[in-house]
Subunit: 718 residues, 2 copies
């Protein structure tokens, strides 16, 4: 029986989701390398599929045996008379190519290569992996792995556990994608203990074909998946990832995605020649990537579970006003602290709610938030309190805390939560403190979709994560600016430089490029004689003058800079003095002239920058200049292209933002023009891949309405 | 039988530890309010003592019954013929006073009042509590509570569970002091599940007598206690706490202390009139208190346990060079990230170690740190790797990671760790990932004193905590400065101001006070005529001139300030202009004169401040002036008195410290003189309780060797 819903396969991009049904929902699976040998991976995979009650047909393939686990075995894929949709391959790496070719010939649509011995082992393995990929590409077979644990689909109509994991995955609505096979086994153990279920579970291995982006696309369409958890060591496709995933996490039918990212890319070796280059780095890239695509980055695997549970079961809060219900003061205080720290606030209960609480609760109870039903509360008091706060329109979500005390009705109290929570449409998270005594109550919560945390900190943080994601969904989109740029002119300057072997561009060419992109460049001229310098000052007004010579990098150190040159006479004199000084200090310097540029009006000095990363493209940086960037490293990053929302976010997310917004009685700076500059920078970076690094340092931001001025820039080409 | 080792009791301070043996190690205990009623607290407490196999004698006291749980009951304490060392009281609050008096009459040495209904219920309860305390004080009885869960002493010679906790505490070497009774029950449940044992377990309740400090003193002498865990909502005795606890955590026989502090003190209501006042707050106070006393503040109860386990079982690392051993890449990467983040570094293994690893491990293994023994490792490979890195003198501690894979020998691998770790004298922490499959291995670890964490993050953070504490123990002590101050002169100025009803002191009196304490005050004079102003400028050189009038707060706004007045002629003119301008703008201003002060030389502007807190005394603040304090809030705090180490730490712990240390090619600032200024400030704050708040803003710090200058100050008295 063929998988007739797999019709056309587009493998132009690794990141395509097409054809994945052959892997997740095959009607027939061959296990090449299935084995009877106890402890072997070939046996573990076959047994897992068999024991998992797979809805389709499985064919063990092993030339050395007649049957595997009692199932009739085949000596090769070709020997199988029926259609085979998917093949799991557990043979030595060198033998995989032949199997793959045979599979292609047989019309197999998907491979899961569990075998190791590929890219991870060095150059020979890498060549093998590339060939494997080429075979799949040529024959439109999709491929998971190689070097992976396999995958699990708990869908009740499929029931496919094509992995060698010891522990089974329970059905649920969380999908997990892991770049570490070992972490998969640990996560399955952990989840089994905590009653956490999965929709799909995928170990991606070396990602020769199918990677995270393809899977995210696929899982977004999966009706069983409510939230996606990622464990990632590296990603590819920066711009495509952002563009696609932004829609998946924030579009019409959003799927939340949580990620743990480990591993710091070793790039210390790469030369860095700009401020932006020295401040950026793979952490900045991944933070930008996740933030721009709406992926919630968490710090630990435990947080991944804590948050995923909340996303899998709870609606999002409409805003951040949270009620806390507790039967003990201390835990209420702890929860309050963490609630505030998580960006939430304590809801102010309305009059009616307080009246209801006062009428039902004993006098000693606290009817203000956090609501304390007191240590001797039975379930009835909890019920009254929970119903009352969920009815209050000032409450967006509830943190429910129980400590086991002598009168506490643990199970009865747990039982009242699910129905009330569901009816309200508001998120409720719980902490029944302690593990042993409260375990029966916790089971009731878990089985009825109320996320539970052993301490209130976890509950409050999970609620914070729900709110954080709700803000992403509710973000407003500013109308985009219409910006005119002269792409051809910039390209011509860059080409000319590259043709002349010039990789480092200073102000002269840099300003031209920036001007082509509409940056507010100050009037300037390269003077080659004192007379030209004088004429420029006469035309522009007070100017700065700087030596232009490829041999002079630190211009001030050799007397190569004069500022505040006010008259033509002064300019002619300054020209002579600059040239004399540089000639004296660096006799071999080839002097091209003196750059004469109008002095900028006063304003706040900021720095804008670009650094380009392989497979992620250009990273844009913004920060305040001088000590702010050098000592505080108070900068923000985004991957280009950015939109106006992104530009605004970059500006507002630095700590020193008040300096641009009227702090200490200063005038408000021209933030709209600054947004335009960042957008122009993004266009410049996207349009010209030859720009490896760029610093505009400083850009001077004038008072609101007065614009900005580029005061210095440098560009590194490649 | 009397408790003959309790001889003299000193109740002058709540914080004394004397007499606590009567509570922790009584030979006889009466339970007043013991009951047969199921579910009652009186029954729960009595049963806990009885079931706990108490080493002494228990007497139930209840006039309404002949026996409790089969033990002969007494109608009152007086009816008991024998000596009673300690009484647990579970009667209504109003009845406790009579019981306490009776206990005193009977010679009881310690009370544990479990009853609620005291300070926590309002004024009447507070009065009751004060009377209870007075009775105890008068009769030298020590008191735990009221309003508490009780206490547990697991000492095998005592075995006293005088609490109404449902769950028992297992013996161990962690002491737990909790201000929340409800948290106690949850913590006991949690600990039981995790096989965590306690030496002592104390619910302090309202702390009418015995509080944290007394208990810390007592537990420090307890041979069964290796680490103390605190859950704190508020503390008292700031200076005494620091002085005592610093010795306990960092002295000859150190006991590590870990604390969770919850609850934000409501002090928004208090008026704040200084920069220091607006930046300080209870968080700053508690952070300073913990840091100065060497108490490790953690953020969550889970961390409290995670870290305490490591402290209870492991030696401290000598430095921060950590080896990671893993059988899977992903978890090794996670552990590496968190290790670095926790302030540790990856050890660089020496030649011999790498050679040994290479000779024993398969070729695909990673013999560099993190060491990967590969997924198919059995216990022998782990053993070789662990022994090798523990032998390496470049390794200060080990993080041991296991993920369950098909060949993994979970129990055998667990079994090899304890002996190797013990022999090495280096800390080893483990993460066997997953809960179900690995549980038998985890049990082996737990029972043999190897702290275990479900994910490597927890292991790495715990190792970081050990290292953090080792730094506290190894800190060096700078020789103190010898500073001369004129305490009497400052006291006289303050007294004069207070006598005159003057609470706000500006530069005139402020500078005098600072001068008395040896601060580098600039030469200045209050001029009452233009001639005096001219003479001052002639004498001092260029000066700043400022109006002095109680009615003028914002001097610049009314033309009351001139800077850079260089000559006598200019000074006379400026005097007239200032006075005219102020008279014109604030006609009712009483003008005392014009303050003429030498202009300070250039330097870095910093702010020094004092804010006094009830029961904690003065908090000292330091930060860079202007935007750094206003926008970045980049300041550091310590409670006075500080020593030179503390002053240095305050200066170096702000983010902007590089600004004082030669950043961007600037000169290095005179940090030694700045340290002296902070020490003088500490002395001033400690010597004069009338100083409520003080700002020196700015203090100008000149180049190294050039000292500092006080450029402006204000003092608020009370």
């Amino acid at each position: 029986m063929a998988v007739n819903h797999v019709t056309s396969v587009n493998l132009e991009s690794f990141a395509s989701a097409s054809g994945l049904d052959a892997i997740f929902a095959p009607a027939s699976v061959a296990v090449v390398g299935a084995s009877n040998r106890p402890g072997s991976v070939g046996r573990a995979v076959f047994k897992n599929i068999l024991d998992g009650n797979f809805a389709g047909i499985i064919y063990p393939v092993n030339p050395k045996t007649k049957s595997v686990c009692g199932v009739r075995a085949y000596s090769s894929l070709s020997e199988i008379a029926d259609q085979v949709d998917m093949a799991v391959i557990i043979v030595p790496a060198a033998a995989t190519l032949e199997v793959a070719r045979e599979a292609a010939g047989k019309g197999v649509k998907g491979l899961v290569v569990i075998s190791a011995g590929f890219k991870e082992t060095g150059d020979a393995g890498k060549a093998l992996e590339e060939e494997l990929r080429a075979i799949c590409l040529a024959h439109k077979m999709r491929l998971i792995g190689p070097n992976c644990l396999g995958l699990i689909n708990t869908d009740q109509d499929i029931r496919l556990n094509a992995s060698f994991a010891r522990q089974k995955a329970q059905p649920g609505n969380i999908a997990f994608i892991s770049q570490s096979g070992a972490l998969c086994t640990a996560v399955l153990d952990f989840a089994a203990k905590k009653n956490i279920g999965f929709s799909k579970f995928i170990s991606v291995g070396n990602k020769a074909d199918i990677g995270e982006l393809a899977l995210i696309r696929y899982l977004h369409e999966d009706p069983n998946t409510k939230v996606i958890m990622l464990y990632v060591e590296d990603l590819r496709h920066g711009a495509e990832f952002i563009e696609t995933v932004r829609e998946i996490t924030g579009g019409a039918r959003p799927t939340p995605i949580l990620a743990v990212k480990s591993g710091r890319t070793a790039e210390g070796a790469a030369a860095v020649s700009s401020h932006t280059g020295s401040l950026a780095g793979s952490e900045a890239v991944y933070n930008a990537l996740f933030e721009q695509s709406g992926v919630y980055r968490v710090q630990t695997v435990e947080e991944l579970f804590d948050f995923a549970l909340a996303f899998a079961t709870q609606p999002l809060p409409r805003s951040n006003r949270i009620a806390i219900i507790t039967n003990a003061g201390g835990p209420g205080i702890i929860a309050t602290d963490v609630t505030i720290h998580a960006g939430l606030q304590l809801a102010e209960l309305n009059e009616a709610t307080r009246e209801v609480l006062a009428s039902h609760l004993p006098k000693a109870a606290n009817i203000h938030n956090p609501i304390d039903v007191i240590g001797d509360a039975r379930s009835d008091r909890y019920q009254v309190a929970l119903a009352a706060v969920l009815n209050d329109e000032n409450v967006d979500g509830v943190i429910f805390i129980l400590t086991p005390q002598s009168m506490t009705e643990i199970e009865e109290t747990a039982a009242i939560i699910p129905a009330l929570a569901l009816r309200s449409g508001k998120p409720v998270v719980a902490s029944f403190m302690g593990l042993l005594d409260v375990s029966k109550g916790v089971e009731i919560l878990e089985q009825n979709g109320i996320p539970h945390y052993p301490f209130p900190e976890g509950a409050a943080r999970a609620m914070g994560a729900l709110y954080h994601y709700s803000q992403w969904l509710r973000r407003q989109h500013l109308r985009e600016f219409e910006l005119q740029v002269d792409r051809k002119r910039a390209a011509a300057i860059i080409k000319q430089a590259l043709d002349g072997g010039l990789l480092y561009l200073g102000e002269v060419e840099g300003n031209e490029i920036l001007e082509a992109y509409g940056f507010p460049v100050l009037p300037s001229r390269l003077a080659t004689t004192p007379e030209e310098a004088a004429a420029a000052v006469a035309e522009f007004g007070p100017c700065a003058m700087k030596i232009v010579s490829p041999q002079v990098v630190h211009k001030s150190d050799v007397g190569g800079v004069r500022v505040g040159v006010a008259t033509g006479v002064e300019a002619a004199a300054a020209f002579g003095a600059i040239v004399d000084s540089v000639r004296h200090k660096i006799p071999q310097a080839v002097i091209q002239g003196v750059f004469v540029q109008q002095m900028a009006a006063k304003g706040v000095e900021v720095i804008l920058g670009i650094k380009r990363y392989p497979s992620f493209g250009p990273l844009i940086m913004f920060g305040l200049g001088g000590i702010f960037v050098e000592i505080f490293k108070d900068v923000s990053f985004r991957l280009a292209p950015i939109r106006r929302n992104g530009a605004r976010h970059m500006i507002r997310s630095i700590k020193a933002f008040p300096m641009l917004n009227g702090a200490r009685g200063a005038a408000i700076s021209d933030q709209a023009e600054l947004e335009r500059c960042l957008l122009r920078l993004s266009m410049l970076a996207t349009d010209h891949p030859a720009i490896a690094e760029l610093d505009i340092n400083p850009l001077i931001v004038h008072e609101d309405g007065q614009g900005c001025s580029v005061a210095d820039c440098r560009i590194l080409l490649k």
